[in-house]
Symmetry: C2
Subunit: 516 residues, 2 copies
């Protein structure tokens, strides 16, 4: 963070404060985040090598099954052993090592506001909106199926809160729209109601290309320019254990061909899609992730790619997925160690398994967030709004998460250690047992010295009771409503909007009843 | 952790599981905790030295005021500049450095069950019960003044839950009892309803000596034996800025003389008792803490002592204390760096400022807990039950905290990286896209593979709704009641109990209306 930005932040906080009491919700300014400490090393190098060795055996002896001739061709050309009948590809370590040589250690992502360009890699960290839930929930209207009105509102909230840096793949699918072309509608919403970069749907080449094309229109650049300056990204899920679906492979290939990044994320719930032991789960995750990473480089050397981790456990009594567990937290930490071993930008999540926005949602999310931050994640996907193990996008949970993310941003903010901040003179000016409320040092700084929370209430018990004893959940309901009122749609050139509309109309016609 | 303990843990989990559904609450076994990673270094050595240098100037140029002739004598003898009129003691760096040479890097604390001996220092970590609130709260009976019935119940809960290792100084003062001798009653409860070590009240020599004497009776050892094998500890608060009260000094001296540890904890809320800037607050905390540490060594070389940190910020709008804030989290991290610089065991807290057990209580506590754990705390004081900025001890908060602490314990548990756990054979035995539920590897491990939470509910939405849509707070209310039902009072030799009772009766008579 530059000094200029710090100063901007302070001015922002002062403005916000001045207008408080009916004014706008206090929030942190847009900020480029960098981890201020070396990530946690919860296991030693020897253990990391044990995972690596096991994953290399998985790749070379067991292989990955892919339902795509194109992928088989690419790997065969690179020297892998391909069984055409079963689609099993066995990959030697030298092929992986060769691919790793060309993986960029970091890349950028740019939406339609260049000043909000994201750097993905190194010590940089970005937070993403929840993606994928079939349902939405808020405390006023209850639980309902994903729909376009809520899709739009979540996009507005993602744009409104500066701590949300990127939109995931469909915050909640608008299920009233046809499945084969609703991605066009959601891309249009992403591009018009926000100025953020977003995740394309990568099921098939068509959906990936539509995301790429629509972002080039919105940015007013050519596909060639965007290949040099990426604008969209996607998640490539591995159907663990050891299966890459054909449609996913097509999406990956389209993105890599066009220089757009993908995150290879094996879906590895321990006890279900992997063995119950953490080392085995991580070895399998590592094999599957490196397979996808290698594939991107076979498509296009230097294509940007992320190491994705989604290892958590299931409840062995019910088979239900659990998140924010100690095992999930450890997986977040160790996956970071693995990604850094290979010098690949690292994506993980801070999910929870609660059915409602309660204490469990808060402590499980906090646990997973610290696992991700302590693990040096470069992107925390699903960072805002995830509830019910990913089956519901929640408005109140989004507010809770924004508060947690802003707290983390402030923990990460560099500290000024100048003599003035060390405050010897001021300490000497206050008598023993006295207080610092009235000192010049305090008066010069008090408005911006501390993070001012959005959701936390620090009034004393009497004042809190007199104001209606509102707990944080009640306050969260008021906050998302206020944020939607305060939301301002980012301006867009009408010609670009027309071009986007025309693209959507043309593609909707082209698709017709085709494309699954 | 030894293999034997793991095995014990697994057997325990199995037993608990077998008897589930009306059986006992699942919980982790008593465990010696060690941090599995190097603590986070959020600032560099240069910044740590800047804090050190400033704190040395505070000690040598400004000094600390102490209302105790005994303390002035001790420091004068050591070469400090003492102003007898104001009680101000200015301490040169060489005096501090000399004292630091004899501070033990770690020590032990033993209550009446020797197998539960605590190691304080190094990578070891212990969690303590909340201490000091004037009020108590639960969701059934509401908020009320501290009283003996609740004191007893909190002591039972601390004994019941294995993740609570030590009792703080009065979980909530029993205010119906006379202030000058109620410490005798609380010590007796600590010693009879639990077998844990506890914190004495250190306001004055008498209260400290009573704690020491009663623990020797309970353990059946002499004061000389206990000087070699400490049994109680206390918190010495500094009345920041730069004031040590006479009664506190007397308590410190009594404890150190008898070889019992103290934690020197400046009460440093930024903006009130220190400047608003974090470097200044930490410099002041460091000066005050090192003053107390030095004093312990002037009393008795080698006396066990802890570096205490309690730096957080106040709400600059209301002056109310705030905890679990980003500033508090950073202070927890940096204070650990300071304590390790001086090789002194480190005590901090995981407090929050919420008025109720809600989302805020959960995320602020989680934030502060990670600050403490990431900071390598050797003792997290107030770890279970703290609510309302320390003004209320809460039953539901205690349950929430036990879940958070157990999660942290499991994050810290070493991971087995044997070939069996790396699971190559098992991964090879499951077809691509299949699942691991039925494999031998899973069947051998599934009952104990994952941490089984007490408070989290991982059932799916439908099942959760059918069971009454109970949120975590509602479940917490049921859990503390069940824990009190399951609680078993630890056995005590009737002769020891008689001796304790006689001590209490005699001392109560001696004190009479004396001792403040």
């Amino acid at each position: 963070m530059t000094a200029e930005e710090t100063s901007g932040s302070r001015r922002g906080a002062r403005r916000a404060k001045t207008s408080r009491g009916g004014g706008r919700i206090l929030q942190l300014p847009w900020r480029d985040l960098e981890l201020p400490f070396a990530p946690l090393q919860i296991v030693g190098e020897e253990q990391i090598e044990a995972i690596h060795r096991t994953s290399m055996r998985i790749l070379s002896e067991l292989g990955i099954r892919v339902l795509s001739t194109k992928v088989m061709d690419l790997f065969e050309k690179a020297g892998a052993l391909v069984d055409r009948e079963t689609g099993t590809i066995r990959v030697g370590e030298e092929i992986v090592a060769e691919a790793l040589k060309t993986v960029p250690a970091s890349f950028t992502l740019t939406g339609r506001t260049p000043s909000k360009r994201l750097t993905i890699g190194g010590k940089h960290m970005v937070f993403g909106l929840v993606a994928g839930p079939p349902n939405v929930h808020d405390c006023i209207n209850g639980r309902r199926t994903g729909n376009m009105k809520d899709y739009e509102n979540f996009t507005r909230l993602a744009h409104h809160f500066n701590c949300i840096h990127i939109i995931g793949n469909q915050v909640a699918a608008p299920q009233e729209l046809p499945a084969n072309n609703r991605h066009l509608d959601t891309y249009r919403v992403n591009l018009t109601l926000s100025d953020l970069s977003f995740h394309c749907t990568a099921i098939g080449r068509g959906r990936a290309m539509d995301g790429i094309n629509m972002m080039t229109i919105a940015r007013g650049i050519t596909p060639e320019q965007m290949a040099q300056d990426p604008g969209v990204i996607t998640i490539i899920s591995v159907n663990s254990p050891r299966l890459l679906d054909g449609e996913m492979a097509d999406g990956l290939i389209a993105m890599a061909e066009h220089g757009q990044p993908v995150s290879i994320t094996p879906f590895t719930l321990m006890g279900a899609m992997t063995p119950v032991s953490l080392p085995a789960a991580l070895a399998q995750q590592n094999a599957e992730a490196l397979f996808g990473v290698t594939l991107t480089q076979l498509v296009r050397k230097g294509a940007p790619v992320m190491y994705g981790a989604f290892t958590s456990n299931v409840d062995m009594k019910s088979g239900a997925p659990a998140f924010g567990t100690p095992e999930n937290t450890k997986a977040n930490l160790i996956s970071g160690q693995l990604a850094r071993r290979y010098k690949i930008p690292y994506r993980t999540s801070n999910a929870n398994a609660s059915n409602t926005v309660d204490l469990q949602a808060a402590y499980e999310t906090s646990m997973a967030t610290w696992g991700a931050v302590g693990g040096g994640a470069n992107m925390i996907y699903h960072a805002a709004g995830w509830m019910e193990g990913g089956l519901t996008a929640s408005y109140e949970k989004l507010i809770l998460d924004v508060e947690i993310l802003q707290n983390m941003m402030e923990v990460m903010r560099p500290i000024d250690f100048s003599e003035d901040e060390l405050g010897f003179e001021t300490i000497g000016s206050v008598p023993t047992g006295g207080h610092f409320f009235g000192t010049d040092h305090t008066l010069q700084r008090y408005e911006t010295a501390f993070y001012q929370p959005m959701l936390s209430d620090w009034t004393n018990y009497g004042a809190w009771e007199a104001a209606g004893s509102k707990d944080a959940l009640t306050r969260a309901t008021a906050l998302w409503q206020r944020a939607l009122e305060e939301y301002e749609e980012p301006a867009m050139d009408p010609a670009i909007r027309e071009e986007l509309d025309a693209y959507v109309a043309r593609r909707r016609e082209d698709i017709g009843f085709g494309e699954p």
